[in-house]
Symmetry: C2
Subunit: 190 residues, 2 copies
C-alpha cells in the first residue's frame, strides 16, 4: 500500500515532517470494497472518514418514493464521509456505495480527534477541507436553484473531469437533477 497519494493530498494545505507523516500514516487502515458494496447504510452511525486511493465512491439518499439522489462522488484523491453523522454521532441519512472495486484508507473519528491533539496542524487541514466542501455544497444549492440542466451538466464536467465518461449516465443524471433521457440528449449535442 502506497501512502503517497494521501501524503500529497495533505501537503496541499499543511507541511509535515517525516515523523509527523509516520504518525499520520500509522492511523490509516487500508480497506477495500467490491463494486456495489456499501461502506455505510442509511441509519448507521458514521465513525470514520474514507480517503479513496483507487476506484470511486458515491453517497446517496433515498426519498420516500424510492428515488435515489446522489449527494457526492469521491474518485481517487477525494475524501468521503456522512459528515452529519460523523460530527453528531447520530444515525446518518446517507448510503455510501462503491461504484467499482474501490480501495480506501480509513481514518476513524477517534483517531482524527487524537490527531488534533497530537498534531494541531491537522486542525488547519480539516478546516480547509470543510471550507472547500462547504463552498461546493453552497454552490451546488445555488446552481440547483438558478441554473438550467444544461448549465449544471457543464459545471459537473468542470468539477469532476475524470468522472464524466467513467460512471453510468443515470448516476450523473441523479447528481445534477435531470432525467437520464435529458442528459443523453445533452451529451449527444456535445
Amino acid at each position: 500500500m502506497s501512502f503517497q497519494l494521501i501524503l500529497d493530498n495533505v501537503s496541499k494545505h499543511i507541511q509535515l515532517t517525516n515523523e509527523e507523516k509516520a504518525r499520520f500514516i500509522s492511523l490509516l487502515k487500508p480497506f477495500k470494497l467490491k463494486r456495489k458494496q456499501l461502506l455505510l447504510h442509511e441509519g448507521d452511525v458514521c465513525k470514520q472518514s474514507a480517503f479513496v486511493t483507487s476506484g470511486c465512491l458515491r453517497s446517496y439518499n433515498v426519498d420516500k418514493n424510492g428515488l435515489e439522489h446522489v449527494i457526492a462522488f469521491a474518485p481517487a484523491d477525494w475524501w468521503m464521509a456522512d459528515m452529519y453523522s460523523l460530527i453528531s454521532g447520530r444515525p446518518g441519512t446517507l448510503n455510501i456505495e462503491a461504484m467499482e472495486e474501490t480501495e480506501m484508507l480509513m481514518l476513524s473519528k477517534a483517531d482524527q480527534l487524537q490527531l488534533y491533539q497530537d498534531l494541531p496542524k491537522f486542525e488547519r487541514f480539516f478546516r480547509i477541507l470543510a471550507e472547500n466542501s462547504l463552498v461546493a455544497h453552497q454552490q451546488r444549492l445555488i446552481d440547483r436553484l438558478s441554473l438550467t440542466g444544461q448549465e449544471r451538466y457543464d459545471k459537473f464536467c468542470q468539477r469532476y473531469p475524470t468522472l464524466i465518461y467513467h460512471i453510468p449516465q443515470k448516476q450523473v443524471a441523479a447528481y445534477i437533477g435531470v432525467s437520464p433521457e435529458f442528459l443523453s440528449r445533452m451529451r449527444a449535442k456535445k
Copy 2:
C-alpha cells in the same frame, strides 16, 4: 459595544485566556446597517466575516429570471459571509442584506489568517464552524431533493425558531422553496 455575545459564541468550541480574548476582540470592528442596506453585492470580493450582534442578515442569489433565492439567514449570534468569495478571493455570487437595522462585528480575512498564526486554537473554532455549516448545507440539499414543502417548513421552524414570526413570509418561502401562497396555507393550518 459589548463583546459578551461573540465571546460566548467562541467559548462553545474553544477556551480562551483573558489575554487571548483581548487579542481576539482587538481585531473586531463594529459595523451597522440600516434595513435593506447591503453588506455585500453580487460581484464584490468578500473580504470579511460578519458576526451579528443584533438584527438579522440574509444572503441571497438572483437567477437569470430575476427570482431571488435565499441561501441563509443570520440572526443575532450567527456568522455570515460569502464563503466561496472569502476563501477564493474571487468575485462572489451572493448578496448580503440587512433585513432590519443590524449590528455586527466584522473580522477581516487578513486578521483571521493572522489569528490562525497567533492563536492556532482558532483553527479549531473555524473548523467546527465550517463543519457545522457544511452539514446544514448538505442537509438542506437532501431536504430540497426529498422532502415536501410542509416538511421543509417544519424543519425551518426547528432550525430558526426565533425567526419564523419575525421575518417576512415571502423570505421564508424563498428559503424553503415554496410559493408565498403555499406557505400562507401551511401556517394557517398550524
